[in-house]
C-alpha cells in the first residue's frame, strides 16, 4: 500500500504536526511563537522539535537578540517535501 507508506510516523503527533504546519507558511518561527500557538510547555515543545530536527525536517538556529538567547526554527527542503507527501496521503485516506 503506497498511500500508507506516505503517512510519515515522524508527523504522527499533534505537536509535531503543528510545528510543521506553522513552518510551512512562515519562513521561520521562534520558540516562543511556537509555544504560544501550540499552547504547550517548554519541555514538551523542545523534545518534539528535537525529534523533527533529528530527521532533518527542521533547522534550528540559536542566536542572541541583545542578551537574550533566541531559538529560531525553519523547515528544511526535505521537511517541506515530506510534509506535503504526508498531507496528500492524509487527504487520500479521508477521500475514501
Amino acid at each position: 500500500m503506497s498511500i500508507i507508506n506516505n503517512i510519515n510516523k515522524a508527523f504522527d503527533h499533534r505537536i509535531r504536526l503543528g510545528i510543521m504546519s506553522i513552518l510551512m507558511v512562515n519562513d521561520h518561527a521562534d520558540f516562543n511563537m511556537l509555544k504560544e500557538l501550540l499552547s504547550v510547555t517548554d519541555g514538551n515543545l523542545a523534545s518534539h522539535a528535537k525529534a523533527l530536527e533529528k530527521e532533518a525536517f527542521i533547522k534550528v538556529e540559536k542566536q542572541f537578540i541583545g542578551r537574550k538567547p533566541n531559538t529560531r526554527y525553519s523547515a528544511t527542503k526535505l521537511g517541506k517535501l515530506e510534509f506535503k507527501k504526508h498531507i496528500e496521503a492524509l487527504e487520500k485516506l479521508i477521500g475514501r
Partner: protein
C-alpha cells in the same frame, strides 16, 4: 476510527497554518461601527461647510477660513479615535473568544503592513495641503487607504482585499469629480465599511459563535 484521526490531523494543519500566518480575530462589527462613525462625521462636516463644498473654488476658499478648518480637523480626529477604539475593543473581545492572542506575531505583522501604505498616504496628503492642492486630498486618502487594505489582506481575512480594491476604484473615480470629495468619503469610509463589515460579521463572527456553543 482511523478516518476520524486523519480528519482531525488535516483540520489541525489547516488551523495552525491560518492561525500562524493570519490574524483572524478582526471583528466585522468594528467595520460596521467605523462606517457609522464616518457617516456621522461626514454629516457634521457637511453642516460645518454649509453645503459650500460643491465646487472646487468653494473648497479652496473654505481652507482659508481657519475656524472651519479647525472644526473639520476636530471631526476627522474624533471619527478616527472612535473607530480605532471601537475596533480594538471589539477585536479584543473576539480574540478572547477564539483563544487568539490580541498582540502576537500575526497581529503585529498585520498592523505593520497596513500602516506602511497608510502612513505614506498620510504624509503625501500633508504635502498636497502644503502645496495647496487640497482638492486631491480626498481622492488620495481613498486610494492610499484602499492600498493599505489590499496590502493587509495577506495577513488577515482575505476579504479585505476586495474592499481595498473598491476603495482604490472610487478614489480614482473621485479625481474626476473634484468638489464632491465629501460624498465620496461618505460612500467609501461610511458605506463600504458598513457593507463589508456586515458581510464579514455574518460570514465569520456568526459561524464562530455557533462553533463555540458546541
Amino acid at each position: 476510527m482511523e478516518q476520524n484521526k486523519y480528519l482531525e490531523d488535516i483540520s489541525e494543519i489547516k488551523n495552525m497554518m491560518s492561525r500562524s500566518s493570519r490574524f483572524i480575530s478582526l471583528s466585522g462589527m468594528s467595520g460596521v461601527m467605523a462606517g457609522v462613525y464616518a457617516l456621522v462625521g461626514a454629516f457634521l462636516a457637511h453642516k460645518v461647510l454649509g453645503g459650500l463644498s460643491t465646487t472646487a473654488e468653494a473648497t479652496a476658499s473654505v481652507r482659508s477660513d481657519l475656524f472651519v478648518v479647525q472644526q473639520l480637523y476636530l471631526i476627522a480626529f474624533g471619527v478616527m479615535l472612535c473607530a480605532v477604539v471601537t475596533g480594538i475593543i471589539l477585536t479584543l473581545r473576539k480574540s478572547k473568544r477564539s483563544g487568539e492572542k490580541m498582540w502576537d506575531v500575526s497581529s503585529k505583522r498585520l498592523v505593520a503592513n497596513f500602516l506602511i501604505p497608510l502612513i505614506a498616504g498620510g504624509i503625501f496628503c500633508l504635502v498636497l495641503i502644503q502645496y495647496k492642492i487640497a482638492w486631491l486630498v480626498a481622492p488620495a486618502t481613498l486610494v492610499f487607504y484602499g492600498l493599505a487594505c489590499v496590502n493587509a489582506s495577506k495577513y488577515t481575512l482575505g476579504d479585505i482585499r476586495y474592499m481595498g480594491i473598491a476603495f482604490v476604484a472610487i478614489g480614482l473615480i473621485s479625481t474626476q469629480f473634484i468638489g464632491y470629495g465629501l460624498y465620496f468619503w461618505a460612500l467609501g469610509f461610511g458605506l463600504f465599511h458598513i457593507v463589508y463589515g456586515a458581510l464579514m460579521h455574518f460570514k465569520y463572527d456568526r459561524k464562530r459563535g455557533g462553533n463555540n456553543e458546541q
